[in-house]
Symmetry: C2
Subunit: 349 residues, 2 copies
């Protein structure tokens, strides 16, 4: 006996599919084509100080395997980022290995004898000068500038389930509602709202902001609270975004080249995907990890990201949410933050 309820639902449904109404338009550019056409001015150079070059042992065919990690800039996670540069410069990471590969979750590397249920030897001593962070540092305080930027971005305009916020916004800007603007489509089940700033995805509860656990993001392994990890153990996400880890672990960067060398490794059969003692031979050796700025200039890799503050990025995000390139028949009408990957490209030195 819920006929009235269903009728109300059905009436609502007719008003919602904004994207579907536009589906008759001619096929538009694919997101990758929009990125390819971005003006040079929309690309931002990544400082060499923010790039880590991690060299794995060659693969079974003898091919070299190099992974490039972009470290997160301020204001996020700077204590851990400090430590990671320190570990790299102390050459502490040289000779560690990939010890854990858990399907649809993470690939993790570090000292195989530290905090590993399959350890057989003694952990190596940590370098001097490491910072110790509190759990409060998993998030940053939202400044007025950051909120302003958030509200001005395409994706950041979305506030879920928020009559009060909508009312407050409408009073200032006029009567157009979030639904009428179609902005419900970037809603996020893990936060009040999500967005991108300075090349990175984040979520917010308006009081704080925190980076999001998307595919390829790099985080800091830790023990039980209140431990927050030093940076000796790192992992990257190799499956569906484990967003429940947001605000529970420090994120420090992302893989921008060579991800396949970490995502396609054999899964470990021990607890949590650790390689068992019998599988010790599957641990991929990490030969060296270097801060790019410490390499000879000619060997420094150079990368750029597409400015998340550019019009090109807004157009790109909209195209991801409303695919109309030839393969697609029904644009989704929305996208989640982890499917709006910030484009990064390698450029000639």
């Amino acid at each position: 006996m819920r006929t009235a309820r269903f009728a109300a639902i059905a009436a609502l449904a007719l008003t919602l599919p904004l994207a579907a109404q536009e589906a008759a338009k001619p096929a538009a550019l694919a997101p990758s084509e929009i990125v390819a056409a971005a003006p040079k001015a929309d690309w931002v150079a990544i400082p060499a100080e923010d790039l880590l070059v991690m060299t794995l042992a060659p693969d079974a065919d003898g091919k070299p395997r190099t992974v490039v990690i972009q470290l997160m800039p301020a204001p996020f996670s700077q204590g851990w980022v400090h430590n990671i540069r320190l570990f790299a410069r102390a050459k502490w990471y040289d000779g560690i290995s990939v010890n854990r590969v858990q399907d649809n979750y993470v690939t993790q590397w570090g000292d195989p004898n530290y905090d590993n249920p399959e350890a057989t030897g003694k952990p190596k001593p940590l370098p001097e000068g490491l910072k110790v962070m509190t759990e409060a540092e998993y998030v940053v305080h939202a400044t007025e500038e950051m909120l302003e930027q958030h509200l001005n971005s395409l994706v950041g305009q979305v506030r879920i389930a928020s009559r009060d916020l909508r009312a407050a916004t409408a009073a200032e800007e006029g009567s157009e509602s979030v639904e009428e603007r179609g902005d419900w489509r970037y809603s996020d089940p893990y936060s009040l709202s999500v967005g991108h700033q300075k090349g990175w995805p984040y979520a917010t509860d308006v009081k704080t902001l925190w980076p999001t656990h998307c595919y390829g993001m790099v985080g800091v392994g830790r023990n039980y609270s209140p431990d927050t990890g030093s940076g000796a153990e790192l992992y990257t996400v190799i499956g569906h975004a484990p967003r429940h880890l947001d605000r529970n672990i420090a994120l420090v960067g992302r893989i921008i080249e060579g991800m396949e060398h970490l995502s396609s490794l054999p899964r470990g059969s021990g607890a949590l995907g650790f390689y068992t003692a019998e599988e010790a031979g599957k641990r991929t050796p990490i030969l060296t990890v270097r801060v790019a700025s410490d390499l000879p200039t000619s060997e420094q890799p150079r990368f750029e990201y597409l400015s998340t503050e550019s019009q090109t990025f807004a157009t790109y995000a909209d195209a991801i949410a409303n695919r109309r390139d030839p393969f697609f028949i029904v644009p989704a009408g929305g996208a989640d933050i982890c499917n709006i990957k910030v484009p990064v490209r390698r450029v000639a030195p």
Copy 2:
């Protein structure tokens, strides 16, 4: 000059973090512990007719590799599921291979000489009796029974950005709003609402329902519209859920065992992750694909899924959205549909 706006936002933020307010409670069970404690009656046997056993060539160490696929039951995608059983029973899949592995996207298998930019031979003829489906069959009509079930489920109670729907619901059920119930936390950027029924995740616009492209789901490769694919080419998701494919491709099942044999394969270096002609040796041979009900009874694998209509499942989903087991310090307060994986277990014959 948006101080008033920020004040309104900040006031709202104080009212939202329901989960955070509860964080002081003692540590609760982890989702896996809730599943382990489920009563036997909450587990539903998967019919042998819905199980495909796919045997890959042994790995480099000579270890056997078996993948088990659960086919999707009615009402979803039944034309394609019909075809897939037909392909299997015609032994058409025997001798095909994995031809494409694209990082953070899909692993795809089929005839290496069909619709493959790297093909070098002639495609094998298709069996007789294949059905041809229209694009309308990517979704199913939402019956009153399905909507009733949807509205009664924990996750399905969420309707995003929907004042009208909320008002309609409130009029019938009292004044408690979606925010007050905390149900905004399962919102979905790709649909009006998501849920699980009969063991499968789906999204809905209230008029129709469709299965969702989560990690491990199996879909049907196709050419440009209006082609909808026959089932000769199949793929599985090996990265972050590409939900923009929902309603654009038929989903027909999911990997319930042996996923690591498909997710950890070397990525192809050709366009879209196809193995190039030079990499033809990386194509993993598929030896056989059998419908489990065609195997001798003693060889039939047996699996069960946790009833998505059970109280255990609702408790499990809530625990995923609000992790309070010892590792966690901040419960997310929400979860996306692809992180609420339906538990499946192998049982003794």
